[in-house]
Symmetry: C2
């Protein structure tokens, strides 16, 4: 997408230097830093420490991580055990996003088809880059399928601004292009529909106020940052027309694990009769599970992510301690929104209800 | 209450210097600063800028503000117009908390009964100090009436820790002693019941992580800070036994205006069959209204309260900018929780359902 007139993706393979590069999202919006991933350790660090984040991007990074495992200095050529152990390490980097396991497995399967080292490397790189292009294409399709939903609201409101609320960053920074939750927004904006986005700041890591606000602003989309607490109030007062969020893992029955706090917004949307959509590429489906609350492991992260807040001070990045240093904190990173609270899914194959039968009608190859 | 072995209140009248003093809560938990209020301007600044905050404390500060108007340097003795105009200024300092209007009106009525200047000053001071003692007593009663609710849960859990979730700071810092939402917690703790408190950080001003965590810690109560986003998840997983919050204004029908985000917690409590109690002195009732969402004005505050976060850096207070500087933000300070989501009120006269008939049975003098 466009950043100050330059086409940009959050991850790319630089051909000249044969290097995987990512935007270090920890420093946005105040600093734009590109980072090289040269080893599996680099890649795991990038995923764990949220240099890269967002389900589709985690998947893409894991996919390229398999290629990195094969070409890094101490690689063991065609040793399958080595490759499998590196893949396991990559998949263990974060526990919730489905795309990570999916991306790593797909690239390692493609690589393991080849006995010859050069072919194996080539297959891994090609498969990873293919995943990246597919994800970009899927997000474009999500935008196209989401557009009529926003268009309809716009018409009903006589073209007054359509107010979309989103939580966290399911934008192009979390994906490759367009984003998932933001794809219908960008597509509507590019089609001259008047949209305004309420951006939840998304504590503790502020992906909303740091990243979503930044990318919407760069694209020229009208938006307002609110605290995570505010969504219910503005819904009660008719200031939200639709909620669109992303997902990190989705059960075949339609339960959605997304950034902590999503469930609260879904409850408020339900209580105020506001449509609540989840936008997702099918790579986030976990086809093996049906009970999100019982079966999706929820990552617990470092409590210091809550206690210390990063921001800009005198032109430099600084972090301040907010609570008493001795007070403990608990940092659950995701929650599960039950299917009953979801109006619909916007996928790369179309829109469907959050119910197994409806999901399977779009993805018949997944019927049991 | 106890701070490092010293008895402390958030507001007091220092007899020797004849001065009203408050704790400047903007600097807690990292700095303890006492501030003099010498003029109505000082008092309005303290209320507006949240040097003092919390409905009962705002009421107490407004009450002493009437006395301050009468004794400040440029006071106009027994000019009723002067006194009335100063009272109006005080009441306009913040729009949502009922206690402010109530406290100011009560003290000015007491003062206006006297024609003699000295008597007027004396009446104002006595009435304000009486309000402060009443509020302290009311909070003590709220603790006594709330205790059996926590006791019952503790017994049901075979004395395993009772997990209470609270939002914002409705502690002694917001009141005079005990607090409102915290009164049953402190009373349970002082009665050797094992309690653990989930403290919502309460963006944007972090009254939970800064103030509630600080006062619970000073009293020795086991607590854990969580983001405002986390409450739904921990309720889904059986980690919350009861929610107790305060209120800034309460309708006679039982709707509750409290810190923004309270409504979201009430929805989650309902969805998970967890009791949701509101603790309040009757001074927060607005007996004239029945529709909270339509009739309670919700304060909008400076967006910079969202964009900039205060905390400790190298031993000093500092503020960092989180989002892009050019992104707008909207800062609604309260929301309204409809009575249907409230399990009960804990008042200084006992516990009742959040319904007009039940409220009036405790406060029969308010029946129409």
């Amino acid at each position: 997408m466009n950043v100050d007139g330059k086409e940009m993706r959050p991850i790319w393979f630089e051909k000249d230097s044969q290097t995987v590069k990512v935007i270090d999202q920890r420093f946005l919006p105040h600093q734009f830093i590109a980072k090289d991933l040269n080893t599996v350790d680099d890649t795991i660090y990038a995923i764990k420490e949220m240099v890269v984040r967002g389900a589709p991007l985690i998947g893409a990074t894991g996919a390229l991580g398999v290629y990195i495992a094969l070409v890094q200095k101490d690689n063991k050529g065609c040793d399958n055990d080595y490759l499998n152990s590196q893949c396991k390490r990559l998949k263990d980097a974060r526990p919730t996003a489905m795309n990570l396991f999916w991306g790593v497995d797909r690239v390692s399967s493609a690589a393991l088809k080849h006995e010859n080292y050069k072919n194996r490397v080539e297959a891994a790189l090609n498969e990873a880059l293919k995943i990246i292009e597919e994800e970009a294409f899927n997000c474009q399709k999500i935008g196209e399928y989401g557009l009529p939903i926003i268009e309809k609201i716009s018409k009903k409101k006589n073209e007054k601004p359509v107010n979309v609320l989103t939580h966290c960053n399911a934008g192009w920074l979390a994906c490759i292009e367009y984003g998932t939750a933001t794809a219908p927004i960008y597509t509507a904006f590019d089609n001259s529909i008047d949209v305004h986005v309420w951006v939840d700041e998304t504590r503790p890591l502020n992906q909303g106020s740091r990243l979503t606000a930044w990318e919407l602003g760069k694209h020229g989309v009208h938006h307002t940052i609110i605290t995570d607490n505010a969504g219910g109030h503005i819904m009660q007062h008719g200031m939200v027309d639709i909620v669109i969020v992303g997902t990190d893992r989705t059960t075949r029955s339609g339960d959605v694990a997304n950034k902590i706090g999503t469930y609260l917004k879904a409850l408020a949307a339900k209580d105020n009769n506001i449509p609540f959509y989840v936008a997702l590429p099918s790579s986030t489906f976990d086809w093996n599970i049906t009970n999100g609350i019982a079966d999706i492991p929820i990552e617990e992260r470092d409590p210091d992510e809550i206690k210390y807040v990063y921001g800009l001070l005198n032109g430099k990045s600084a972090r301040v301690l907010v609570p008493p240093e001795e007070s403990p904190a608990a940092n659950h990173a995701f929650d599960v929104t039950p299917a009953r609270l979801v109006t619909g899914f916007i996928t790369e194959r179309g829109v469907c209800k959050a119910a197994e039968q409806d999901i399977i009608s779009l993805f018949p190859e997944r019927s049991k």
